[in-house]
Assembly symmetry: C3
């Protein structure tokens, strides 16, 4: 058998305080010792499928082609399907629960090729309980893919259109006022609050932009780096993914502005 | 020399906020570049030998055969021994402090073969202070084992019965009432509180089980997955290690019920 | 081309809750699949260049020779330079921002050899924004170094004396009283507060040492391990880097004494 894949990019909400991640690594290494596991992150908030999907789609363009193992799986042990989804004409295979977690990445990488529902337990680990699919089903499937086992062996083909869609919220422009109704997609470790707004959306505006959320209104400066901001000056910084993020210089904006992922934010041209 | 081992499974209470884990990885790679270190977890609570021992014994059945390096070591630098313990007829060697951390895993993997007290400093790193045995003694020994150095070279043989025993608390059944006096073994990232009770212990009971702790009494539903529970319904879910865990669907039961590892819990048949 | 380096030791303030570290690993593996990345730590406090520099210099003596990738970079995207600095006569190359982060390690490893300002974008990743140099500039440079690309290809030579110096605070002895004005360098996971004082500095003193900070005064016992301390007894423990650390046995001294990195502490001989 060929060994088409030698890298497993692994994302989950398992955290690293317990042994979950280490056990999956161990299972993978037992099955496919030649494979390297790259941990994308295991810090997705517990059960937060939306955050996991957004993290995966941000990272996917940088991942090594190969197997992507993604597990944020509150429905583990129920009838929700485990799936393997081919993308990039077979360059990569995404393995995870069919709960929307994979969907934005499938779309971003050109759409699904073959899809398999992982119902054949031949390649699964026997387990004492059904709540750790990363160890018993998804991890072993990822490892056997690296050993050259064909996707078709893991279960039955399913129609890509039957995959649960993911939701990537789009911003909306008010046709009357030109204001943009945006949303916080992500708050990173540094407290920067990424919005679903790109620089092209505000290209026609002045450098100073009015930002409203909850009962607050502030003026932010559009810029390309944090250090360009004065002390306490709010910025709309072009972040490393090409989106605008509410940020301060060396201080956590989301904490200080009480913004969390999913919160609505209204942007408009600052009046003089 | 043969190279019998190429994997070091590494567990500690070092955390990942400091450089402790990275330094041990560096030391191992300097000595045995061919070895792969699999991090089981470094999130064991500081100095919590009991939690470390329970984490190791949960993970051990999934670990790749080879060297297991385990460090939760409040007595570092004192007369407590560092030991290497052969298990599985030489399939693996456990390396760590002789403080009970390794004991449940030794028992689970069939008992100790050869045991060595790591008193020969020939393979140790010289160090400026005695408080980082993972870097100076245990890590180097693990690495040299991967290079084919025989256990006997690291010190003097000791009798396995002299190893400090570990304590895995067993639940007790009240002969009169049939109630089970259990204990919380582990609270995981998701807030599930694993008990030292298996499904066989409550097999004769109804699906509804009475749970008492502190001054609280609740009724829990026995089930195989979280999503089977209604909103706010307490479950006794068969977890991935085959034990029952107090859990809610997508909410942290231990937080909400104020349960921590070591807390006592009484289970009995729910009265109608 | 030769492949002089096969290890990248990686330190940052990225944390592991987001995908930053995983994306850098992915980028490195895409460019230099043969290289192994050893994570020293990513838990440096956000933007804390001093803490990052001290962590790196503690770890550097244990690192595998090769490439060191260090990123604590509040000035990312500004005119601050990215640099590559050869040390140990080419045994290693440090890659990071020129903001003092690398300086103590350069000094500790014998001083800088060739230095390059990373201005040539030939080996950089194209990026949507300028705030993630670890992914777009520093990580790719580290990976290409492992592929045998010569430093000179990454930009233009700079004079080592132009590198921003780092600050490692030295303790001071009061000539009149003999007291030592020290500083907390580091608080580790266990709450031990490392001081910039070595055992030789207090060798002439009694085992009991007076410790003053803020408005507090305590007497500490000088010792070589934590377990030697009685319950609640403060220690000045010789730590694993050869410095004295304020510590209790199995309790976090820094928390209980309200000490943080940078705080001043005065040591003197305890009066009878």
């Amino acid at each position: 058998m060929a060994r088409p894949y030698d890298t497993i990019s692994f994302l989950s909400d398992y955290g690293t305080g317990d042994e979950f991640v280490g056990v999956v690594h161990s299972v993978v290494r037992s099955i496919a010792p030649h494979a390297t596991v790259v941990d994308i992150t295991h810090g997705v908030a517990p059960h937060d499928v939306r955050a996991g999907a957004l993290t995966l789609v941000r990272a996917c363009q940088y991942m090594v082609p190969g197997v992507v193992l993604a597990v944020v799986d509150p429905g583990v042990g129920t009838e929700r399907r485990g799936v393997a989804v081919e993308v990039g004409e077979g360059a990569s295979v995404l393995v995870g629960p069919d709960n929307g977690l994979l969907a934005p990445t499938v779309a971003m990488t050109g759409g699904a090729g073959r899809c398999i529902s992982l119902i054949d337990d031949k390649y699964h680990l026997e387990s004492a309980g059904a709540t750790f699919a990363g160890r018993d089903i998804l991890g072993p499937v990822a490892a056997h893919l690296c050993n050259g086992v064909d996707m078709a062996e893991f279960g039955e083909p399913i129609d890509p259109v039957s995959l649960l869609p993911g939701v990537v919220p789009l911003s909306q422009t008010d046709e009357k006022t030109g204001a943009i109704r945006a949303e916080v997609l992500w708050v990173d470790r540094f407290g920067n609050a990424q919005l679903n707004v790109g620089p092209e959306d505000v290209a026609a505006w002045d450098e100073r932009i009015s930002v409203k959320w909850s009962d607050q209104t502030r003026t932010a400066k559009r810029t390309n780096n944090y250090a360009d901001l004065g002390h306490g000056q709010l910025g709309l910084v072009l972040d490393s993914y090409g989106l605008l993020a509410l940020a301060f210089d060396r201080r956590p904006a989301a904490d200080e502005l009480h913004l969390r992922p999913g919160d609505g934010v209204m942007l408009s041209e600052a009046t003089a």
